[in-house]
Subunit: 407 residues, 2 copies
């Protein structure tokens, strides 16, 4: 019973062609035509592997391999949507390693006591519909189905309408289901494993994440005849906030990261003083208290900057996930599996949110990380060597088998 | 012979309904469907007023009222395109006051020695196609017709294709034509006339303008697992440049204005470190030397900021218009007309570019300003009181009659 490295590599290539960018990256936004084609490809592969496929109300896809006992399943999952000009590893690698685990079990003629389920979650990235991980969030009861259905992309298109359009609006209720364990393999998306020459990360938990939205209302005016002394420039204020966010991260230090990623200026033409800027602030830290401290430092910065420029603002703290520790037994099981796989490993924390975060709220969960070259992800340069992937996939296989129990 | 204030007010309202925004402003981008409807409305009014209408290769519209002598015309012109969510006065007021001048001459049965021509220039704003004032630029021989035709809007649509689509790709060559004088009435777009309780500005010249484009290439990465120490954030660098532009304007002082108006972030999602920012820098001053000084101060700021963040950049200085003094005789004529109209007036410089700038390169030109409430323009709140407009239109009428010569 072993991972077939060549087969796994081919499936990464094949699925990676759906939505491939000219520079070898991936643009497969949630519920886009590319996502539909990726889903169709996955469903075909899952059926070939003998899985019984169902789709729930949020378009989450489940493929079940039967177990010998009437027990809750071990679920292995991730997502296949990507950010714009993202890479071929974030998300789809976890799904394809889970598929490879099923294939390896099939090849070995191995039966398990618990069923084993492969799960593909809708809109994990939050690049098209917000918030991120919306479908596992609904499943965990943290996001109302109706709110998720009414999420709109930047063109005003509703999530539910896109689910229907691409044929993935399933009938199965999207609610918490019992499971023996949830396992997710994912790229690290950070530099630590590579820097330390390791091949597998045993994920202990996911950092706390807070998302805020700042809207600054200045006075739109002509860039020529408007003297500097009378200006109320939304962009000048917003730019100072960007500097302030960086300063807060530097002052607090430690593991805190703070990012302004979304930044939209109106009317956004060369010869008009910007009248409005909307920007996002993403802060993350293992400690919820540190996020509180960052927020407490940011609020007066925003207030002072806006007062100085004479502009109004609204600051909304609209999404927050506390630190998520993974289940101790699952983490121990993953660690034993990593050791048995021959990987060089260590325990690590995830700086990114994953569906595992919501799954941890409704059952025992854990994750397996593999290294990211140069620590990079959410970009076309995203890459993980196949030998590292093999260690990760073997860890996933051994952990899943341990948790499901050999029949 | 007098301006009919009520008639003028009605035409401002009527043309202002084409492209009107819910909040009473105007969105009539160059060569859009709204621009076509505005042009059609104007052409109908020009024909009603007895003008012979022609359209040139750049879609500039000319309506000629015959003169008694075979002499070059006095041209009165402006534009009817607007910025997004702009106002009902910028551009269209100059065209409608010129129309009202023709109507007033008709009502009074007054013949002139020189013909009088009403001109409507294409794409003055530069909000849809760049550069601004593209069509008078072609006419003045400063922009190649082919370059103008190939200008693309943000969706990649070419100017020439839009000209053809809306039916305003005329046959008449767009080249310098002889004229006795060019006169343009326009809103001031600045605070000075209102602050000083004046109703008319006699424009002596237009400030020098420089447009630059800065593209910053950082490293796109995931906002979560990427520690602060390894980041190369294009937005953090760009934000510092925005602050630098403001600082340069403050340090140089005087009449210099400097604005970052266009600011585009990629990939522009909450959880990705921005990999690229493109921003515009617009600087203006009556003195060309001051613009050189601003540029000399800006370049090291950009260099240092980008070095500090470890990002690459390209800085292109892609458009520059020197200070444009208007023709002394035309300015004197406008001043006499302002006095005769009963306006409270003073000489003033324009901080905004106008088609008059290019027309001044090929013949004697001048402008008439009317006040802008709170100095505001390029916004829905743009407003000029009808009594001020009446003084401006009367000044335009008297100046045009003086220059064309009563027959």
């Amino acid at each position: 019973m072993r991972i077939d490295k060549g087969r796994l590599e081919r499936s990464i290539e094949e699925l990676g062609r759906i939505g491939q960018t000219p520079r070898g990256g991936l643009t497969r936004l949630a519920l886009s035509d590319e996502d539909k084609r990726g889903r169709d490809w996955m469903v075909a592969r899952m059926r070939e592997a003998g899985l019984a496929v169902t789709v729930d109300q949020m378009g989450n896809i489940f493929g079940q391999r039967r177990g010998e006992a009437a027990l809750p399943p071990v679920i292995m999952g991730s997502h296949i949507d990507s950010v714009p000009t993202g890479g071929k590893y974030d998300g789809q690698l976890g799904v394809l390693c889970a598929l490879e685990v099923v294939r390896a079990l099939n090849d070995g003629g191995i039966n398990t006591r618990c069923p084993i389920t492969l799960a593909i979650f809708t809109n994990e990235e939050g690049a098209r519909f917000q918030p991120a991980m919306i479908a596992s969030g609904v499943m965990a009861g943290k996001i109302a189905l109706e709110d998720a259905y009414n999420a709109r992309d930047k063109d005003g298109i509703r999530l539910v309408d896109e689910l229907e359009r691409i044929g993935y609006l399933g009938a199965e209720p999207c609610v918490a289901r019992p499971f023996r364990a949830y396992l997710e393999l994912h790229i690290e998306q950070g530099p630590f494993l590579e820097e330390e020459g390791l091949t597998v990360g045993v994920v202990e938990g996911i950092v706390a994440i807070a998302w805020s939205r700042l809207t600054i209302h200045g006075v739109q005016d002509h860039a020529g005849p408007t003297p500097m002394r009378v200006r109320h420039d939304a962009l000048v204020a917003a730019a100072e906030v960007v500097g302030g966010v960086r300063r807060v991260a530097r002052e607090i230090g430690g593991d805190l990261v703070a990012t302004v990623g979304n930044f939209v200026v109106a009317p956004n033409i060369v010869n008009a003083i910007p009248g409005r800027v909307m920007l996002s602030i993403d802060t993350r830290d293992p400690s919820d208290a540190t996020l509180d401290r960052a927020r407490a430092m940011l609020e007066p910065i925003v207030r002072d900057v806006c007062a100085r420029e004479g502009v109004r603002y609204e600051l909304e703290h609209y999404w927050r996930v506390p630190y998520t520790p993974f289940d101790r037994d699952v983490v121990d099981t993953v660690e034993r599996a990593a050791k048995a796989s021959g990987a060089r490993y260590r325990r690590i924390r995830s700086g990114a949110g994953h569906d595992a975060q919501y799954m941890a709220a409704i059952g025992p969960a854990g994750m397996v990380f593999v290294p990211s070259r140069d620590g990079r992800s959410h970009c076309e340069e995203e890459f993980t060597a196949i030998d590292d992937i093999e260690h990760g996939a073997t860890t996933l296989l051994l952990a899943a088998l341990d948790l499901a129990g050999r029949a």
